[in-house]
């Protein structure tokens, strides 16, 4: 737990000192919550977590990029949908892999 807190603190410090240069109210903007979603989507596997974080970052950035044409909220709705769909697909793949294991001929 100590390491966990230290690591999360380190990241936010990097944001405050290196990027913003100041602290503001609600700076984390839900990054902590998204972090839980990232960890679950990556299934505790560091490589998977990097992929999941990249997915979230891409959707966020894409939302900013097309902000002129589509309201930001629409992208947030899309984000929530993407989380669920990716997680469901992920789960489906995992189950198919488990089913395949005992009978290698059934590919």
């Amino acid at each position: 737990m100590l390491l966990s807190g230290a690591l999360a603190g380190l990241v936010m410090m990097a944001t405050v000192i290196g990027y913003k240069g100041y602290a503001e109210l609600g700076l984390g903007a839900g990054a902590g919550f998204t972090g839980i979603a990232v960890a679950l989507l990556g299934r505790g596997n560091p490589f998977g977590i990097v992929l999941a974080a990249l997915l979230f970052g891409t959707v966020d950035q894409a939302g900013l990029a097309i902000n002129a044409f589509v309201p930001r909220e629409a992208m947030s709705v899309l984000k929530a949908t993407v989380i669920v769909l990716v997680a469901a697909a992920n789960q489906q793949q995992l189950r198919e892999a488990l089913l395949r294991r005992p009978r290698p001929e059934a590919a």
Binding site: E73, A80, T81, V84, A87, Q91
Partner: protein
């Protein structure tokens, strides 16, 4: 000190407690059936918005209430299906539900009312005496149909779990889904039905929140769903105790408001922390004795 405990404070405490208590009882329904639910926040927001939208469109608070309850049940069933059918991690689904509700209500606010912060004001239920006195305020809070419905839901919940066939099935699905399935209980169906009830009850909290303000504000649930979750854990998954916890929380909040009126500057922010610090302390002591349903988060077929 005696000035703090007036009829006005009591009325405020009861009113403040309703959204927390309704969400907590809804959370108990969900978790008793074995479905982890951190999406209560999303249910509160969705139902608050749809109750206002329906009341605004129809001009009737009853229609608003019905729409709010229906929408709460709907998103709650969505959570159940995503978790039980698609096997998505329940915490992940709950986070996604909260995200979705926050963004979708904002999107709808913009689409329907061309505002990014709040809806136009609506007429809520207006029952009880007028006037600004503490007694009149208390009467208005207590006679409010949403308050009465939430109270009734909290009161019958322990009875349903203890005495009815459906309640027994819900508890079986939550305590030991494999055994329930072996005994012929359709675990998926039971959990979906429990989530309908859960969403409908939690939605009463959202409707109360919106009707109390006479409008919807973006993000107006403001963490109440999570405090309700804390109440569920503190209560040991029992509706009567969760109700007591939420009343205690509401009282702290009301006292905080009364104190804030008298305090100046930094001190009033300190009072603002009071209910949350109390929640943390109580949680820290309650966490030791775990009374969680044993099959919480488990699927019937592994």
């Amino acid at each position: 000190v005696s000035a703090l405990f007036t009829l006005t404070t009591l009325a405020e405490a009861l009113g403040i407690a309703v959204p927390y208590a309704a969400a907590a009882v809804g959370g108990i329904w969900s978790e008793k059936s074995g479905v982890i639910n951190i999406g209560l926040e999303g249910v509160l927001l969705t139902s608050a918005f749809s109750s206002v939208a329906a009341a605004h469109a129809s001009g009737s608070a009853v229609v608003g209430l019905l729409a709010g309850v229906a929408s709460g049940a709907l998103v709650s069933v969505g959570h159940a299906l995503v978790v039980e059918r698609a096997r998505v991690d329940a915490v992940l689904s709950g986070i996604a539900l909260n995200f979705f509700a926050y963004a979708a209500t904002r999107l709808a606010l913009r689409g329907l009312y061309e505002s990014s912060s709040n809806s136009p004001s609506i007429d809520a239920f207006r029952i009880g005496p007028g006037g600004a006195g503490g007694g009149a305020l208390l009467a208005r809070v207590v006679l409010d149909p949403v308050f009465l419905l939430a109270l009734a839901a909290a009161a019958v919940t322990p009875w349903i779990f203890a005495r009815t066939r459906f309640g027994l099935r819900v508890r079986a699905a939550g305590d030991n889904p494999e055994a329930a399935r072996a005994a012929g209980v359709d675990v998926l169906r039971t959990r979906v039905l429990a989530l309908v009830v859960s969403g409908a009850i939690a939605a009463l909290g959202g409707v109360h929140l919106a009707f109390d303000q006479h409008r919807f504000e973006s993000g107006m649930s403001n963490g109440r769903g999570f405090i309700a979750l804390a109440a569920v854990v503190v209560s040991g998954w029992r509706a009567d105790r969760a109700l007591a916890a939420c009343l205690a929380f509401g009282t702290l909040k009301a006292v905080e408001i009364a104190l804030q009126d008298r305090a100046h500057g930094g001190l009033s922010y300190l009072f603002g922390l009071l209910p949350y610090v109390a929640t943390l302390v109580v949680l820290a002591f309650a966490a030791g004795r775990s009374a969680a349903p044993r099959g919480l988060g488990k699927h019937a077929d592994g």
